[in-house]
């Protein structure tokens, strides 16, 4: 029996399917028919996969194929700590974008992100940074707001300051 990160992911899948079936219990037959059909099938598959993960039965690389044919192959040559740190930076930036969109508005948040990432994370030269930031401003404001007529909501900070 071996415990690995992949078993945790499989367990999360299994738990998700169990919750799916449990939550649908009180619904009328028509409403629960589809979630139950899929959820129960998911539980059966999850149990088989978890058993596979834990016991090594039917190893994943059986047949020699190391990658997935319907998805990209992950070829990670970096130490896990570096990978986690760099992934953390990007997810942190995504969280920052969400916060900036809510507070400053989309038209300000996106160019600010492009500028910050290219200059401080990518260490690009100012001319390239400014060019890409300009393109972002044009894309977000001119293309979306003017051409497609999709206005972006203003940030709450402008509302608080009374300048929206």
């Amino acid at each position: 029996m071996k415990l690995a990160a992949t078993s945790a992911i499989t367990f999360a899948f299994l738990l998700f399917f169990i919750v799916t079936v449990a939550l649908a219990q009180g619904w009328p037959f028509v409403a629960r028919l589809f979630p139950w059909t899929i959820g129960i099938a998911g539980i059966i598959l999850g149990v088989i996969q978890l058993y596979r993960d834990l016991t090594g039965w039917w190893p994943e690389n059986e047949g020699g194929a190391s990658g997935l044919q319907v998805d990209e192959v992950v070829e990670n040559r970096l130490p896990l700590s570096v990978e986690v740190r760099r992934a953390g930076v990007l997810f942190g930036m995504l969280a920052g974008i969400a916060l900036a969109v809510w507070s400053l508005g989309f038209s300000v948040a996106m160019p600010a992100f492009v500028l910050a990432y290219m200059r401080f994370e990518g260490r690009e030269s100012w001319p390239i940074v400014l060019l890409m930031t300009g393109i972002t401003i044009l894309f977000v404001t001119v293309f979306f707001e003017q051409f497609l007529e999709i206005p972006w909501p203003e940030g709450v900070i402008w509302h608080w300051l009374g300048i929206d």
Binding site: I9, T10, F13, A31, G42, A65, Q69, V70, A87, A98
Partner: protein, 498 residues
Amino acid sequence: MIEAALSGLNTTLTLPVFVAMLVGIGIGTFVAVTPQGLGTPLAYALLIPIVIQFDPAVAVAILLGIGQVTNTGNTFLPVLLSVPGGAGAQAIILDGYPMGRRGEARRALGAGFTASIVGGLFGALVLAVFMPIARPMVLAMGSPELLILTLWGISMVALLAGPQPIKGLMSGALGLVLTAVGMDPNTAIPRYMLGLPYLIDGIPVTIVALGIFAIPAALDLAIRKSGVEEEPVPLVGSLFEGVSDTFREWWLVLRCSALGVWIGFIPGLGSQVADWIAYAHAAQSCKGAGDSFGKGDVRGVISCDSTNSSREGGSLIPTVTFGVPGSFTLGLFMLALIMMGITPGPSMLKDHLDLIWVMIWVLTFSAIIGGMICLVLINPLAKLATLRYSVLVPLIVMMSCVGAYATTRNVMDLILLMLFSVIGYLMRRFAYPRPPLLLAMVLGPLMEKYLFISVRAYGLDLVTRPGVLILLAFVITSFIFAMWSRPQPSQTAVKEHP
């Protein structure tokens, strides 16, 4: 049918549609040539939220323009850098890169581009011929038959998830469950909404697509902090020699194009295996291949490119006739159509026949124009292959956020994007294939509708209908063929150590 064909040609030649196709060709070339071949799924995921704002013919022209030309442009990376140009251009490395190292990069590219043009035209021709034959047959189908076909689409992709079919099926099941989120259309019962009114219309599939594909692609570039590691081989040799190679090997091109259409027709096989099957076919059937293949034989490049390109037309056959995406990319394409109010399948054959002909014409024109652009702009395009991560990452993230936020313009869009980015990253990291999840989300609502109607109308008798039995036999046959066609261990080993 001829009227619809002419009407489709007229529409394709209108200024907005033709310009849209050229834009698609430009974007497709860009994503095929940039480091690691960012690929069609990424481009589709980023652009669907935008193109659905346009007229359907314009949207179709952009998306299919991208899809067709990606199969042409993806020859650059394997030949110049020994890097797979996306999922469909892995086997090209075997002979393309040795040719490049031998000072024949332009010959390999010329042969590949020309084979792509011919393959693309072949695929479009087969699609055009198939339409009048399939139409009456498809229009006679009822909900039980369509239910079987939908199940076929999802399970084929899941079963082909390499050595891990159970993970593929679990991924598909997750996608199907996610489609149940929101107000149930039949009973008006809120399902899995967690008290969030935001989820009343369900989880937006576009956000899921961006989260599980686009952000992990950016993440991959950001983690490696590099585009490509090797220096490209010099772009020398005779382009014309490659072009004439393709015409000299016309019989191989036709055989591989036919193979591409057949592979495209079976949902799930897609580009991931097409080039390997074509390469294996060429290696077995070409004279003297035992000595020359793998060492820089132009026929190795020609076989892969013609198959890849013709596959696009083949994949569109089940997509537009049965409503079952012939490939994962076309699953995203189908999503775009559904979001514009067009459901691929019998209703599309009945009500939007001219749009199907627009697709055929776009495939035809973009195969020719895309191939020509690659042939003429070979030098500047080759430079794109060395684009830095620091330019691509913010571009992908920005486009993802724009696409997600344009869905409802609610900050919840961005939170959902983050959530699915984490899920996509973990799935990719722990080898849970993502395409079945997304395909299931596209097909899930249709499947639930067909299941509901079939059970209400026929009860358990639905499995004894002759149409259902015939389709089940067909489904089982294609399963066997698909499993038999999976790449062999030796092929995969070469993929990692070219």
